[in-house]
Symmetry: C2
Subunit: 310 residues, 2 copies
Amino acid sequence: MRKFLGITLFLLVTTSNATQAQTAGKSLAERLGYARDAKLVIVHADDLGMTHSVNAASIKGLESGLVTSASIMVPCPWFPEMADYAKAHTDADLGLHLTLTSERVFYRWGPVASKGNVRSLVDSNGYFHLNWTETTHIDAREVEIELRAQIERALAMGVRPTHLDSHQYRLFENGKDIFQSVQRVAHEYKLPVFVVRDWFADRPYLETSLSADDLAVDHTVTIEPGVAPQKWADFYATALKNLQPGVTVFIIHLAFDDEEMRAATRERDTWGAAWRQRDFNFFTSAEFRALLREQDIKLVTWRELAHAAK
Amino acid sequence: MRKFLGITLFLLVTTSNATQAQTAGKSLAERLGYARDAKLVIVHADDLGMTHSVNAASIKGLESGLVTSASIMVPCPWFPEMADYAKAHTDADLGLHLTLTSERVFYRWGPVASKGNVRSLVDSNGYFHLNWTETTHIDAREVEIELRAQIERALAMGVRPTHLDSHQYRLFENGKDIFQSVQRVAHEYKLPVFVVRDWFADRPYLETSLSADDLAVDHTVTIEPGVAPQKWADFYATALKNLQPGVTVFIIHLAFDDEEMRAATRERDTWGAAWRQRDFNFFTSAEFRALLREQDIKLVTWRELAHAAK
């Protein structure tokens, strides 16, 4: 997925409109009450619950009105802080960022389910795997157990999620069995899942696993390693100026470049503290606000999408 | 325990020397190579691993030479940062702060063992209990399972602990069965446990559960709610000026009063960010260093105690 997300912006600029055609009649934009060629954007902050720094920056982003949606990592230590926020802000568009990896070195978390029931998901120290490699056998039944446990904890602690997505895209990029586990759980809890039409060509099982009532957004944009820090705003401005019609989800990662975040991510810069501060700076900026106006881009939420799909 | 620790300083000033007499021959001070009436102090930082702020302040304390020992909470998210430090600093006097509670509201952790095997230790959301009340049934067999899991993870991740102690004194203040679980585990791993002779009067099972080879330190000092922030240094200075002969363990709690620590402890001030910054300020101060010299107090470590006991 890293690979095919890397070319998302390229696709977004060069592909024809064929991929965005909805299968039956009205497009997603139309179902949301907009013209067929409207440019609609969800500005989505990932990884809430990971650290206090992520929580504080993401809440500030949401409250600026420029970040429309976010999703929370239930297994992470700071999840209770976000659950408390969600209970007090029922209008906030918060989903669950289903999490099966613990990708940092000095700061780690593990499953919500009993470890004995999800052995394939944990390493020898009981944390989620740092990474999934060719030799990591992940049991799709255990994935389903853990996803249910994460949703049940969120509900028990007062979160009413608007959607589901996947930390590090693990649930989308690792085959049909795992994606179908997500689909079963999503249908059971009646929650939309973040899936993008632009992904279908590379991962046909994503499309064939969807039922007629399932949503798929049209495009996604996310910044990747390789963009120089001083080119951050340029990358996003170019993406906004070249936006295609339909619903595009900007996947962003907010945090402050502070002591906690620097320590939590210090083994590598990618998605690190400075990276997240740059995302925060752009998506709460007057420049971003002006681009939305100039390009006639409307911000929407997962709650609106879910409502439109009904 | 909160109650009887609260009067420790009072006891320390008023009791006779009877309680410090070792059962057989040489006192602990003598076994350490000091005179019988030597005043020996372990300056012990608790709660390492809890947050990055605690880790950073405690490491700075240890490296100042004025904090001699510390213990690490294996279930906490920042344990890997401390395990990494321990591996790189094999001379640091680091024990395990055995942990069965998750006492904060917005930032939480759970067991190392599989939850299904330690049901009595977790709440309905899968975290360690926020508190143990009269109605919390804690199964001593499950305590033993969890303690072994914590020690095994620490060993697997490269920590070579010099001693064991108990977060919030839970393992000492909740009856003979739980304390004997600790003792069995400690004997198996050949590690000394932090037990204080001054506690025996109120908790006779602590004394009767010790075997002939087990260590007990003579006194302990820890600051408690009720001391005004501006009296912090006075409290410790008074304790140091009134120190009795023998081994006294100062139990302190170090962190910086920063964003992360304020957020992690914001539901109450006790043992909060400002509290821990005050402890850091005193125990790394020139005033503390001068008091040690003036009062002819020698700093010792758990490693020295364990060696002397052999």
